[in-house]
Symmetry: C2
Amino acid sequence: MITIDKSGCKPFANEQQINSYMDKALKGFDTLESGSGAGNDFIGWNHLPSTITKEVMDEYKDVVSRWQAMNIDTVVVIGIGGSYLGAKAAISALGHNFTAKLSNKGMHILFAGSNMSEDYLAELTDVIEDRNTACVVISKSGTTTEPAVAFRIVKQYIEQKYGMEESAERIVAVTDRNRGALKSLATAQGYTTFVIEDNIGGRYSVLTPVGLLAIALAGYDIDAMVRGAQEAEKVCSERSESNPSIQYAALRNMLYDAGYKTEILVNYNPRLLYVSEWWKQLFGESEGKDGKGIFPASVTNTTDLHSMGQYIQEGERTLFETVLHVASCRREMLIPFDKDNLDNLNYLAGRRVEECNEAAMNATIIAHIDGGVPQIKVEIPSMDEFNLGWLFYFFEKACGISGYVLGVNPFNQPGVEAYKKNMFALLGKPGYEELAAELKKRL
Amino acid sequence: MITIDKSGCKPFANEQQINSYMDKALKGFDTLESGSGAGNDFIGWNHLPSTITKEVMDEYKDVVSRWQAMNIDTVVVIGIGGSYLGAKAAISALGHNFTAKLSNKGMHILFAGSNMSEDYLAELTDVIEDRNTACVVISKSGTTTEPAVAFRIVKQYIEQKYGMEESAERIVAVTDRNRGALKSLATAQGYTTFVIEDNIGGRYSVLTPVGLLAIALAGYDIDAMVRGAQEAEKVCSERSESNPSIQYAALRNMLYDAGYKTEILVNYNPRLLYVSEWWKQLFGESEGKDGKGIFPASVTNTTDLHSMGQYIQEGERTLFETVLHVASCRREMLIPFDKDNLDNLNYLAGRRVEECNEAAMNATIIAHIDGGVPQIKVEIPSMDEFNLGWLFYFFEKACGISGYVLGVNPFNQPGVEAYKKNMFALLGKPGYEELAAELKKRL
């Protein structure tokens, strides 16, 4: 079970302030649970975990078995935003720090369609050319530019290499139930298809086929991940001040209103880099609207103590930190004894490296409190599938509640259309001629 | 030559405001060039490129040749902060997007000592166990905890595998000229040694052996990189309003004083992720002190348009962006024609992917200006060694100037000691007993 340690907020707020924000968060929780708030047609994720059936899980595993039987070693997963970050976060967090050697028996997952770098796509083809390749394409509409461009390239490659018939066995679509370009194509070609439900937005979709299929293909235990999310759903659906999602929503809104405008998600494990990126989308896209919202940033320590540490200790005092504390690591590595001891490290000889990492964390929390940076700590027992499922659901729940406390619709993203319209116009897409003329004058 | 496009600031500032900050930046430039400012014992980097000799470059190449002759395929580079980020940034920016396949004929560089994750170090040993391994250890003192711990482990591994005598040929130290634990060890063991000069701080050290040796081992052309830096030194040392380092220092301080407290460095190429991390250290550590300084953040687009894009478009209006525009890519990949055109992308068929990437960039700049986010654009002809050397020097120069405009010492980092003292105390290091007792009460 994941818990919140709020002791690092106490030097910055009295009990009364904390209690008043707990009340606000309880109201936000009520709004979410009653389905009475803004964006309530997008809360399908809220009680999703408890509805996931063995049948659905078996469908994911069927794809894994089928592709294992075909000796597929590499899967290109095409998606962007919420159709990319959940799987990327999980596969990074559960995997090996060095891609040179995988820690699991799953297929090698390569992500594409999450950028429009020509070099990236060209280099992707370098990698897959001597691999036995399949593809999962994830897009509700099938027309989002980045994944659509990548899918044209990967689909053409697979069709040319394996022929049209076999390609249909090597491509799986995750898309809308009824509509859209990708749904039409999947039906026409006979691709295996999984559904993105209408009431779950991209950034809340990691526990749907959008995330789970790729995670299963990478060789991880999605049953354990779903069990973790189910546990989290139970704990985080209690109307109680001991509910960690209510606590987190309360504390961060309290700090925001007190002038701490930037939240830095802190981890002490480089594998968690993309958990932070997933979290940034979840909170940034849910709250950053109407001229408000906490700015989400992240650091990976102790690495970034040697880069961002100076700023956090002594820069503008508008920051707070949320520390992800993973209590145990997987491997064992002791600090060796050295008879010459020129580096003066023998006081650590025979002790575990992670003990130093933990001391660095505690040391930093105290130093940053003393420097004027409030601290929230999220206690995570270990970084495995169960706890990661727990963490994903916990953050989603906290985000829905937090958005309601802030007073925004946490489930829309009106601001992402602005650049897209401009882009279509600049690329000469039919129907955007007027805007194109206007923009070209400005450039 | 790298240039600055300030047109995206003009909707937010009039000519007079811009000119007044140009004057301030010219004064900052004078302070730096005259060596009369705070921290003036750490400006050895300022006119470094023009003093780099063929002899020094040959010493790096000698290590490369020697290790090539030994068929070394993997080099563990141990360092943290400025002893890590420069080489990491360069090797990522110049390399292949997928580590599965290298784009060059150099050695495979693995970084260590930049964190204290036990899993990371254990997994490092998984990778090197079947490789022909050498090590570059970079530390001025030799006692910084992270690199010292990693070096104990890697040194022991190399000594056990190859024997003491051969180990001396497989380890190179980059350290202080005269003093310190690593210098003593290197002398005792007979390691090849390169010097970290006293007047160059870590974050300004990429063009010294700290950065160049690892970049050369990775197979990149350090002569071209140094030529780029030399060109930049010439251009950026002119006392002129057309000097891009003066322009960038002026614009960012103008925006900061106008309430834009967070600067987001934006790239459109995933290979530049660690250039952003290097930049964050450079500016964050130089300016984040005395309760002030721009908060440095970064995004990699178009990926992050689908995560941070909503916040940037419509969140708190305290952001500005600095866009790294790399004008050309290396590879060619065209968007295929599709006879069914279900995704409606045929209007792009036959065009280059990078053309879409560029359109996305221009579209986003306009959308963000319209949303209230000032834009600075850094125009970079291509991402090769020459231009990367140019970029490194340009940012260093701009940072020194910018820090003086802000009114801080851009060359110290007093805030990084706070957590270290706490950590030594918590780890039971001799001499920290009193602090340890105090901290244990607080935990």
